[in-house]
Symmetry: C2
Subunit: 527 residues, 2 copies
């Protein structure tokens, strides 16, 4: 799940089409029983998740880990019995980047090994460094002047937003009955992912502040290069050894040079700052090695199919997917190996049960989601329509539905109908058999920040499920602790069964899912 898009999707709050009178929605109890039996009693979702996380490793956009995951998923989907498995390029992305070594420690006034992670796409250090530290605490551009002449050959320490405190809130939570009821009662629109978004969703003032901060940081980067500083230590949120990571340079092949930079644990960074501010000499030892890959600048999605069996309907497609890429400090278990493992398990269940879907089912594991939904947006543009022109390709008409999973590793509690009034009763009927598994809620509310948005943006019926948050925002989302250990097998089994059932229902239905009116052409929403 991409964090840059956690803002109101004002442009996509299309009015829903008026609800039409519909026949009661049919579901197939026998098929559902087979799906449940396979998915709950012979699940392979945790094994798939293990390969995606522990075995493939971190899966940063363009990285070797993502390439391993592309190869693994193509092979595994084929082994599950899917056909036409393909690692499909979506267009130009940028440089690959991987870490070869990362070490950082306090060496004066005493030794202390610290927790820090290289920011993505930053260069390594020229060998092992041991340098004095300078604290640069600039609030605005004018503050930078006073650091001139102070930075040569120094390790530069940047401020931490706020002191840390003991945490009186649990990391992990499930959606309460009240929260689900609020979602059920909601009308279309509203903030995305209302049930489990963090409190600090950026509003206009915060976005402006963020923009100013980025501009200041760009000026600082110039100063650091000009002055000849050695490296940068910065820190975002995160405590207890948990470090939330991001990139420290663009992935573009022609990106401006930056210094080696680590994202530090809050505790370590604050200790350094307190020591420096008390006038105590501080020395840090660090060694980072990273390497770039510039041979292949393309980005990829992995796709595979279960062919439809109905002569008339098999040219129509039900899609399901999640993004395969992750951030680099852990193995992206909840963001989003969980979603990929569930989607892969859903198609495995459908193959294993021997059910014969009328429409073709296509799984897509997206690349480069974290940088702006690039894999899905470009897939949609290549196959269905470009939102900038809204000129539709022939396959636009053929897509029955797209289902996405990317709100962490928690079980499914319902689905966002994304303002599509006509789809609400259909989803309500499809969800009814899963009340005993905790999934009950269809909300008209929009949610954003992940790949269904790419479909929604061109008027295709794309949906994200409502999931329990667990410790997604408190602990794992883009952090160095997003590992296999965060996955709860029962939650992923439940989600796999529900997704398999929804996909099967969509593949069997006489009509494709109803759509909202086509949106007007809009410029691409790349932040």
């Amino acid at each position: 799940m991409n964090k840059l898009l956690l803002l109101p999707l004002a442009g996509t709050l299309a009015l829903a089409a008026p609800a039409r009178a519909q026949a009661p929605e049919k579901t197939d109890a026998a098929a559902l029983a087979k799906i449940k039996d396979e998915g709950l009693n012979r699940s392979q979702v945790m094994e798939t998740a293990f390969y995606l996380t522990d075995v493939c490793g971190p899966r940063l956009a363009g990285s070797e880990g993502l390439a391993r995951a592309n190869a693994y998923t193509k092979k595994q989907l084929t082994q599950f019995g899917l056909v036409n498995a393909n690692i499909e390029p979506w267009g130009d992305f940028g440089r690959g980047w991987d870490i070869d070594k990362s070490y950082v420690a306090l060496t004066k006034p005493y030794y202390h090994a610290m927790i820090g992670v290289p920011k993505a796409w930053t260069p390594g250090t020229p060998g092992a460094l041991r340098k004095a530290v300078v604290y640069v605490n600039a609030k605005e551009e004018a503050d930078l002047a006073k650091y001139q002449g102070q930075l040569r050959d120094k390790i530069v320490l940047l401020p931490v937003a706020a002191p840390l405190q003991p945490n009186f809130e649990p990391d992990a939570k499930r959606l309460s009955a009240d929260e689900l009821q609020k979602l059920a009662d909601a009308t279309a629109g509203g903030l995305p992912t209302a049930a489990n978004r963090p409190a600090d969703v950026p509003d206009a003032a915060r976005l402006a502040a963020r923009k100013a901060q980025l501009a200041l940081r760009a000026k600082l980067n110039d100063l650091l290069i000009t002055e000849g500083a050695a490296a940068v230590l910065s820190a975002g949120r995160g405590t207890d050894g948990t470090v939330f990571t991001t990139n420290g340079a663009p992935y573009a092949a022609d990106a401006k040079p930056v210094l080696p930079e680590l994202e530090m644990s809050g505790e370590d960074q604050l200790r350094l700052i307190r020591l420096v501010e008390a006038g105590i000499p501080v020395e840090v030892e660090m060694e980072t090695r990273t390497h770039f890959q510039t041979q292949d600048l393309k980005g990829y999605n992995v796709v595979a199919e279960i062919p439809g069996t109905d002569k008339k309907l098999k040219s129509e497609v039900v899609m399901l997917g999640g993004h395969l890429d992750s951030w680099h400090a852990a193995t992206g278990a909840t963001d989003n190996a969980a979603g990929c493992a569930v989607m892969m398990e859903a198609v495995r269940i459908l193959k294993a049960t021997g059910l014969k879907p009328r429409r073709t089912i296509r799984i897509a594991l997206w690349g480069e989601e974290e940088e702006g939904l690039y894999g899905s947006r470009n897939y949609v543009k290549n196959h269905f329509a470009d939102p900038a022109t809204m000129q539709l390709k022939p396959d636009h008409e053929k897509l029955a539905a797209y289902f996405n999973l990317d709100n962490g590793a928690g079980k499914i509690r319902g689905i966002y109908a994304q303002g599509n009034e006509a789809v609400k009763p259909i989803f309500t009927a499809w969800l009814a058999p899963f009340a005993e598994l905790g999934a009950t809620t269809v909300t008209l509310r929009n949610t954003g920040s992940t790949d269904h948005v790419a479909f929604d943006a061109v008027g295709l019926p794309g949906f994200q499920f409502i999931q329990d948050g667990l410790d997604y925002f408190a602990r794992t989302h883009h952090s160095n602790q997003d590992t296999y250990d965060r996955l709860v097998a029962d939650d992923l089994k439940q989600a796999s069964v529900i997704v398999a059932s929804f996909v099967y229902d969509a593949a069997m239905r006489d009509q494709k899912l109803p759509r909202k009116p086509l949106p007007a052409p809009t410029p691409p929403r790349v932040p």
Copy 2:
């Protein structure tokens, strides 16, 4: 706070002396107002805590950090106006040990920097190693045979007790009104530290299991040395980047050799185990450098005094203290820089207010608590009585009271009367002015695991305060996250004021505090 002693102190559950009729306890409202004003409005407790933690660093028994802290506290107490400040040897302890470098990473099947901490008193590696990993999962001695011939030059992976799970409980908690009421209602005896001990206080069966585990580990150590393994990676409890640490070898000068060993983050260790168990080749890179200090094997306590002003009473002493040593992976902020900072602040407050205590007040900052309350036990033995003989030294009669703080960084909610019925109404009167600051509870219950036990064991009135647990057991107690950031200034200010007041009350009272009957001689309680 020492964890080895978290077991019922059956030997010290002496029956309390029958309550005598007493005159209403006098307190001095004017003095109290001065103490509150100084401690709440001109507190230096956080600055003292900063020096103890960030500046002195980790303070493992016998380490350079503890030596720095001894020197700092002696100097600082003198600057506060205390006299007779002294770094007083208590007897023979063992080797000093410090870390000079610690680095560990997964290098195959991909690179991932891991979080691991050298176990205390383990040797370093011979330079940087990069080795294949073997998983040794022995449940009993017979299982060891199958690893013969498998371990040469390998990094040995030991099991993790249980898989990790998302955490639905908050790390930090305060004592509820209910919990305090239960403490207030308690009779003497009971489990120690009932209000805030972890759920896993060892019972007899667990102690037996632990003993068997230690015996198995000793056999394994022999095998590892014989077979020529390169190093060991083990893991205790702890998630999210938090690692709880302990020692991997004795501190005794003649300790048997062991291999280099790191205590790993649970997530990292489990990832290694899962990969190995799936048959995927795993390679780990590590470099640890540690050094031993064997010139001075003595242990020390830091003591300093505010001389009494009453001709008759100044030969009597009110003591207060906490242990200055810590574990090595962080800076021992909650265990127990917090307690030391509060005790130092309490004597600073008493000096700054210009109050004239009748009795002499002596602060003691204990060494080597974590290994078995060595500093306080030996101080008591050297100055007051040996519990093994119960032959009393002259100063045994002169001690009016000892107050200890070592249950984390949380504010004071009351005090353990340690089965001393006669002291309960006195403490109730002394505590009354602090109800508005949240401290209300006097319990007859015993608490153990820290230095007041050394006094109690020879019939001296030694007491530990009841404190809010905050995130002590969930997050900081002996972990790599026990840093300054965990300290809550308001809690430490409150505690400082209450301790200063109790110490002052004890120094002004006409009589020394009532005592329990002298215990029978007991063998030293060293686990």
